[in-house]
C-alpha cells in the first residue's frame, strides 16, 4: 500500500484540480480523498507543494532496440522515461529490422518485460519494412496489442497506400500515425526554410513540405471515415488544417513536441547538431501558433519524439548528422515553463501528457480515478537543475537543453504501484 499525501492532484479526465490524498494498492488506485488515514503498513509519500498527475504517457519515442543498441536500448530508454516522469512510452517501429510483424512486436514486448523500467507499447509499421509499398500485417500486430501503426521517419509517399492503410487499420481500431513530409519538397534540407537557413547557408525544409501531406492525409482519413493521428505537428498551416478538419468532424488528432514549443530555428545558429531534428525547429511565428494550438485544444497531445543517437554520429558537420534529439528527460520542465509563463493551463498540460494520449491510442491509465492503474507521477514545480550529459539516463546525449537551467522536474514515477524513480534516483535498477 502506498499513500501519496498533500499533493495538488491534477487529473483532467476526472475534472479534478485540488489538494488530495491518493491511496494505491495492488497496482490500482483505491481511494482519493481530502484527508485519508494512513492504513497500517502503508508507505507514505509527502507530496505537499508538489503536483500529482496520472502517469505521463509519451506516445512517440524511439527506443532503437532491436538492432540499433549503440544509440539506445529498451533498458536505457525506459530508464530515461522513468527519470522524465513517464510511466508509458509508445516506441516507433523504425528499428532494425523494422517492427512490421507479429513476431517482432512480440519480441519488443518480451524485451520490454525483461528490461523495461516503464510500460512499453510498440507501434507497428504501416508498410512492410516501412518501404511504403505493401501493407504490413496490421491485423496480426493488432492481436498482439498494437494500438497504432506508423512509418515514422519514412512518410508513406504514395497516397493510395495511405488510403488503403487507413481503410484497413480502421477494422482493427488501430490508429494510423502519419509523419507528414512530402519528400520532393523537403529534399535534402536540414533545417527550417526561412531567413535563418538563408543566413546559415543550410538547405531548408519548407513548412509546405509538412502541410501538403497533412492536407492529403486529412482528406484520405475523412473519405475513409478512419482515425488519423498527425505526429509532431510543427507549422501554423498544419494546425489550421487540423483545426478545420476537427470542426467538420474528421477523426483526426495530433501531437507536438516540447522542443517545437520551446525553440525556434534561431537555435541552429551555432551549427549544433543537437538542434538538427525532423521536422525542423521552425521560426517563432510557427512556435507561437503551436503554443496557441496546444492552449486551445487543437493539439491533443505532447510527445517527445525522443530520438537518441551516438556521440560519434552527431559529432560531425551539421549537414552530415542524423536528425533527432533526446527529449524524455527534459519534457516536463519545458512544459512547466510554458505553464509558469501562463501560456498553458496546468490541466491542459497534464491532459496532453496523459489522458489524451491514453484516449487517442486506447492505452491504460491517463487518470487516477479509483480502479485505474497505479501509474502516477509527482512533479516538483520548484526544482531547478542544470543537466549535464552524464546526468541523462538515455544513452543519447543529443539534447539542446544540456547546460541550461530547467525548472519543474518529476520527483516520483510509479508504474503499476512500483516506484521506479524517487527524488531523482532510479529504483528500477
Amino acid at each position: 500500500m502506498f499513500l501519496v499525501k498533500g499533493g495538488m492532484l491534477v487529473d483532467p479526465a476526472a475534472g479534478i484540480k485540488a489538494v488530495r490524498d491518493i491511496l494505491l494498492q495492488d497496482g490500482k488506485v483505491v481511494e482519493i480523498g481530502e484527508h485519508l488515514e494512513r492504513p497500517e503498513g502503508a508507505e507514505v509519500y509527502d507530496a505537499t507543494g508538489k503536483l500529482v498527475t496520472p502517469g505521463l504517457i509519451d506516445m512517440h519515442v524511439h527506443l532503437r532496440e532491436p538492432g540499433l543498441e549503440a544509440k539506445e536500448t529498451i533498458a536505457s530508454g525506459t530508464r530515461a522515461a522513468a527519470m522524465g516522469g513517464f510511466t508509458s512510452v509508445c516506441c516507433m517501429p523504425n528499428t532494425n529490422p523494422v517492427t512490421d510483424s507479429l513476431a517482432l512486436v512480440e519480441a519488443v514486448q518480451a524485451i520490454s518485460k525483461r528490461d523495461g523500467a516503464v510500460r512499453v507499447f510498440p507501434i507497428g509499421a504501416i508498410t512492410k519494412g516501412s518501404q511504403g509499398q505493401e501493407l504490413a500485417e496490421i491485423g496480426d500486430m493488432a492481436q498482439a496489442g498494437v494500438r497504432a501503426v506508423s512509418d515514422d521517419g519514412k512518410p508513406v509517399a504514395r497516397a493510395e497506400i495511405m488510403r488503403l492503410a487507413l481503410e484497413y487499420a480502421k477494422m482493427f481500431e488501430v490508429t494510423v500515425v502519419s509523419h507528414c513530409e512530402e519528400q520532393s519538397l523537403a529534399g535534402d534540407g536540414v533545417m527550417h526554410y526561412g531567413p535563418m537557413s538563408a543566413m546559415l547557408g543550410l538547405k531548408g525544409i519548407p513548412a509546405a513540405a509538412e502541410e501538403v501531406m497533412v492536407a492529403r492525409d486529412i482528406i484520405l482519413a475523412e473519405a475513409a471515415g478512419a482515425k488519423l493521428h498527425i505526429a509532431h505537428i510543427s507549422t501554423r498551416g498544419s494546425l489550421e488544417l487540423v483545426r478545420a478538419a476537427k470542426a467538420r468532424g474528421v477523426n483526426v488528432s495530433c501531437e507536438v513536441t516540447p522542443h517545437h514549443l520551446s525553440l525556434s530555428d534561431e537555435a541552429v545558429s551555432g551549427y549544433s547538431t543537437s538542434t538538427k531534428v525532423n521536422p525542423p525547429l521552425r521560426s517563432w511565428d510557427h512556435v507561437s501558433a503551436l503554443r496557441q494550438g496546444l492552449a486551445d485544444g487543437t493539439i491533443d497531445c505532447i510527445a517527445t519524439d525522443h530520438a537518441p543517437h551516438t556521440i560519434e554520429e552527431k559529432a560531425v558537420e551539421f549537414g552530415a548528422a542524423p536528425f533527432g534529439l533526446v527529449g524524455l528527460e527534459t519534457a516536463v520542465p519545458l512544459i512547466m515553463e510554458l505553464v509558469r509563463n501562463k501560456e498553458l493551463d496546468i490541466e491542459r498540460a497534464v491532459a496532453a501528457l496523459s489522458s489524451n494520449p491514453a484516449r487517442v491510442f486506447g492505452l491504460p491509465g491517463g487518470t487516477l480515478q479509483p480502479g485505474s492503474p497505479a501509474d502516477l507521477t509527482v512533479i516538483d514545480p520548484d526544482l531547478e537543475l542544470v543537466l549535464k550529459p552524464e546526468d541523462l539516463r538515455s544513452q543519447g546525449k543529443n539534447s539542446p537543453f544540456l547546460g541550461t537551467e530547467l525548472k519543474g522536474f518529476p520527483v516520483l514515477t510509479m508504474v503499476e504501484g512500483q516506484v521506479v524513480m524517487r527524488e531523482r534516483n532510479l529504483l528500477a535498477d
Partner: protein, 311 residues
Amino acid sequence: MWKRKDLLGIKELSADEINQILDQAVPMKDIIKRDIKKVPTLRGKSVINLFYEPSTRTRTSFELAGKYLSADTVNIAVSTSSVVKGETLIDTGKTIDVMGADVVVIRHQASGAPHLLAKHIKAKVINAGDGAHEHPTQALLDLFTIKEAKGSIEGLTVTILGDILHSRVARSNIWGLKKLGAKVRVAGPSTLMPPGLGDWGVEVYHRVEDALEGADVVNVLRLQLERQQKGLFPTIREYARQWGLNSRRVSLAKPGAMVLHPGPMNRGVEISPEVADGLQSVITEQVTNGVAVRMAILYLMTGGGVSDVPR
C-alpha cells in the same frame, strides 16, 4: 590588435575589424610587387591548407600568402588523405593540431564545418569557404578591390548578380558591404534567391536592368551549371539571356562602374567575354588583391613579428 582566434565569417566582424584587415593589406600588396617577394614576418609559423573541395585560386592564394611571409605552408588534398579512409573532420583537425599547426585554412562543402573544427582544435581557423554559408576572405578581397579603386565603400551602390541562394560569396559580401555603409542590391531568378533577404537590408531585383541602373559596382557570381539539371531554371541559354552581364547591361550602371567576378568564370553564361576582359573589369586585380588580403589576415591572426612589421 587583432583579438579573434578564428576568422569564420564576416557577419560577426565589426567595421573596425574589417578596416583593420583592409588597411594591413596595403603594405602587403607592395611586397607582392617587389622583385624579391619574401619577408621574414611569419618565420617559424605553420599554415595548413585543408581543402575538402577543389580550388585553384583560393588555395594557391593562401599558399603564396603564407610563403611570401616565410611561413611553412602545407597543402592537404583530401582525395589523397586519410579522409578517404573515413576519418572525421574532428579527428583530422586534431591530428593536424598536435603536429603544431598555427593556422588551419579550411574549405569545406558543409556549411558550419569551420565552426566545428574551430571548436575542437587549438590552432587558429580561417574559413576559406563553407558550403553556402560564408567565404570571408573573398569578401575582404572584394572590399579591398572596391576601396582601392573608389577610395571608400560608404555610400556606394553594389549589385550582386546571379545565384544568391547557393553563394557563400554573396553572403559574405552582403555582410561586409552593409557594415561599411554600401547600398546592396541583389538580382537573379527567384528560384535562386534565398528567403528573407529583405530583412538583411538588401534590395531584391528580378529584372537585371533595374538592378544595374546607377550601380557603382557589379559583382557577378559564378553559376554552377549543375543547378540547371536540378530544375532551378530552365536552360543555361535562358539564364545567359535573362541574367548574364553583357556590354549593353553594363552601360546601364554608372560610367566607370567596376565589374567583379570571384572566378572561375563561365564565359558567355553569367558574364560575356567582352565584359570579362573589358576596361571596367577588375577580375585579374581581384586575384592579386586576394594574396595581399590573405597575407594581411595571416599576419594579423598570428600576431606576426612584433618588430618587423612590413610597412
